[in-house]
């Protein structure tokens, strides 16, 4: 595949189970592709420097920061965003646990935080508080002080094991 500067290229991605095709400039960031081309605005842009994690999505099942991935890099791959974590009206155990544990305030980091929580729980079901803290340090929250987020993830882990 070769695309000249300023030209667009057709990419095909599967997002939250649905195939999408669209034309993008190679420079287009994945987060902008999701938000602008696919209208999936649940994924947020918080920092631009891959520091804050608000833009976290799953790319082929692994959490990545979509502000630091080009849309073309996702061509042919599967993406899960916050919108894809709950089916119909049923919240996922992580989403439910965030609600139940007061794990959000302004909500801006929440999408990235929940996607990351899903990822770490897919890797490891049982964790200590210390481990949870370490595994979410790529996601910054300015409101909650993290304690309720950590509690929510531990709570979700219990629910998922039950």
């Amino acid at each position: 595949m070769q695309v000249e500067p300023g030209q667009r290229v057709r990419i095909r991605v599967k997002v939250n189970g649905v195939y999408y095709e669209d034309e993008v400039e190679p420079r287009k960031l994945l987060v902008d592709f999701l938000r602008e081309n696919l209208n999936l605005t649940g994924t947020k842009i918080g920092c631009d420097t891959s520091t804050c994690g608000a833009c976290t999505v799953l790319l082929n099942g692994k959490s990545v920061k979509s502000c630091t991935v080009l849309a073309v890099q996702a061509d042919g791959k599967e993406i899960t965003t916050i919108e894809g974590l709950s089916s119909d009206s049923k919240l996922s155990p992580v989403q439910q646990a965030f609600k139940d544990n007061f794990a959000l305030q302004c909500g801006f980091c929440t999408a990235g935080m929940i996607v990351q929580a899903h990822y770490i729980l897919s890797e490891k079901r049982e964790m200590t508080e210390e481990e949870v803290r370490d595994m979410i340090h790529g996601n910054i929250c300015r409101c909650t002080g993290y304690q309720n987020i950590v509690n929510a993830i531990l709570d979700a882990s219990r629910r998922m094991r039950a």
């Binding site: 190679p26 502000c67 630091t68 370490d134």
Partner: protein, 280 residues
């Protein structure tokens, strides 16, 4: 924070990539965790990105007397794989950035970027690893000690691709990669890769390499030599500490001043040596 216009080429093989790079002005894109931030800041404005991120032939970990690591192996893969004699590689990989960065970023990408505070340059310098570099002209090997030329500068030419890193194993060595950070996920204020071989209470071999203290990884050979054949007494350790910072003039930045970094270098070396001494 949006990249400038750029072309894009996705080869099906390293060969194709090399052909393209030979006749076009391109920048190799692997995971993009170092490159994309630079594109966004428009510090770099290449004509083409040559995306080798998904080339299977570059993603591997092979064990052996001399292990080899494919350049596009993700940090997360390295972090989850213990290679006998190279436990330090796993430890280092697990300390790069954060989980998301490790899931996308590659070892070769980080090496090619050569950030003076990155983790792998110090690691592979300590391990005396060999970078296997390919271009249209052929394959060449460059020792880690010669690979890092300066801040963000390596022996890689624009038409080169880093193929793999060959790493001699260090069986029987105590190994540790330690880094001091101001905040979790930050680049190293100072990082230290340390390998130590003790026999009958004496230091048989030691390899020391720092990151974050200059433009390139710093391997204080004088300190290493001074430690060899010692019993690693407190006196030996303090001598090594002084030699480790001799002639080093670390940068001053928002993470800390030059003199603070020197102090951290000394303490990091001391604490890690003592920890290893205690582990016998």
């Amino acid at each position: 924070m949006y990249p400038a216009q750029v072309g894009y080429y996705r080869p099906d093989s390293v060969e194709e990539a090399l052909d393209f790079l030979d006749s076009n002005e391109g920048k190799v894109l692997a995971g993009g965790q170092s490159l994309i931030p630079m594109l966004k800041l428009r510090i770099l404005k290449p004509k083409y990105l040559v995306d080798i991120g998904d080339l299977k032939e570059l993603s591997f970990i092979r064990e052996g007397e001399v292990a080899s690591i494919g350049a596009t192996t993700r940090h997360s893969e390295l972090a989850s794989r213990k290679v006998p004699g190279l436990e330090i590689v796993q430890e280092t990989a697990s300390k790069v950035g954060d989980i998301q960065v490790r899931n996308m970023g590659t070892v070769g990408g980080s090496l090619g970027n050569a950030d003076p505070s990155a983790d792998y340059p110090a690691l592979f310098t300590a391990l005396d690893a060999t970078m296997v570099i390919r271009s249209k002209k052929g394959t060449r090997e460059v020792k880690a000690g010669d690979f890092f030329k300066g801040a963000f500068t390596t022996a890689l030419e624009p038409s080169d691709i880093l193929e793999q890193i060959k790493v001699p194993t260090y069986k029987g060595y105590r190994q540790a990669y330690r880094k001091v950070v101001r905040r979790a996920g930050d680049f190293a204020l100072v990082g230290l890769a340390l390998l130590l071989k003790m026999e009958a209470g004496e230091v048989k071999d030691v390899r020391i390499s720092f990151t974050g203290v200059g433009e390139r990884p710093h391997r204080p050979l004088e300190a290493e030599n001074a430690l060899k054949d010692t019993k690693l007494t407190d006196g030996d350790v303090s001598r090594a500490m002084e030699l480790a910072v001799k002639g080093v003039n670390p940068p001053s930045d928002s993470r800390g001043s030059s003199s603070y970094r020197r102090e951290v270098m000394k303490r990091l070396l001391k604490n890690t040596l003592e920890e290893m001494r205690g582990a016998s």
